[in-house]
Point group: C2
Chain length 130, copies 2
DNA sequence: CTACCTGCAAAGAATTTGCGGCTCT
DNA sequence: AGAGCCGCAAATTCTTTGCAGGTAG
């Protein structure tokens, strides 16, 4: 029943973990194609979804309407650049959330959270003009 | 140059402001069709995008991969139900963010932020089975 | 009047899925 | 051998866009 170890999977995971900003499926595909030209986009989608289900990656809902993937599943925040659409990790004191109190008060059960800032990143800010 | 007041626009804004969970374009379309059967989905998309550009609505990037629209543009958090995909408003102490310090340290310019929790909402929790 | 808006239909883009064949284990 | 995977192509969805005609101001 076990998951199988294939060239495609290890390359995709390696690529994802090597990225500072969090790529879309298409960007992962382009990146992996360098080493494995024949890999298909649907394999990339399937592998990324599988990593997400395994808890080995986070699927982020980008402001550009596409999914971005993050190989770091620890509790951290993101900054989305509204110009280049890149998503950066940020070091921020995330709010101390009392899960128990929240769940008692609302009846909602918390699985996870995300904290996001939007704006212009430093490299896009430099190219400023008008 | 002025923006024009049309039946479509006022109904769409009214509908949006009347919703507790934040609907997708399609849901807004279905809701508005009750009073204005002939309205087209592209008008709904155009109007929602225009409201977002005017700062009168927020476009939220749903975990379902679709855009959801929120008529309340104040700084507040959201809870996304992973079962029904509804997005609820939550009352939470949002972290005190020192914009100036952050922008100095990172070179990033902040436009806005979003805080999201993911989990199961109370009505989906009740229908629990297996 | 006329710049702006609308509905329709078609185009685009992101993601998923069915299938026959290949491959780890 | 056989459960899993893969690549390919087609199907789904969501969203945007071009155009011809209608309407608010």
């Amino acid at each position: 029943m076990g998951a199988r170890q294939t060239t495609q999977r290890s390359l995709i995971l390696d690529y994802l973990r090597g990225q500072k900003t969090h790529p879309t499926a298409k960007q992962v595909h382009d990146g992996v194609k360098v080493q494995l030209p024949g890999v298909s986009l649907s394999t990339v989608y399937r592998t990324l979804g599988w990593l997400r289900d395994q808890g080995e990656a986070l699927e982020l809902n980008g402001a550009d309407g596409r999914s971005h993937y993050d190989g770091d599943v620890s509790d951290h925040g993101h900054f989305t650049c509204v110009r280049c659409q890149k998503i950066w990790d940020i070091e921020l004191e995330l709010p101390d959330l009392d899960r128990w109190e929240f769940e008692q008060k609302t009846g909602f059960k918390i699985h996870g959270r995300q904290f996001d800032l939007y704006g212009v990143c430093s490299s896009c800010g430099e190219k400023e003009d008008e």
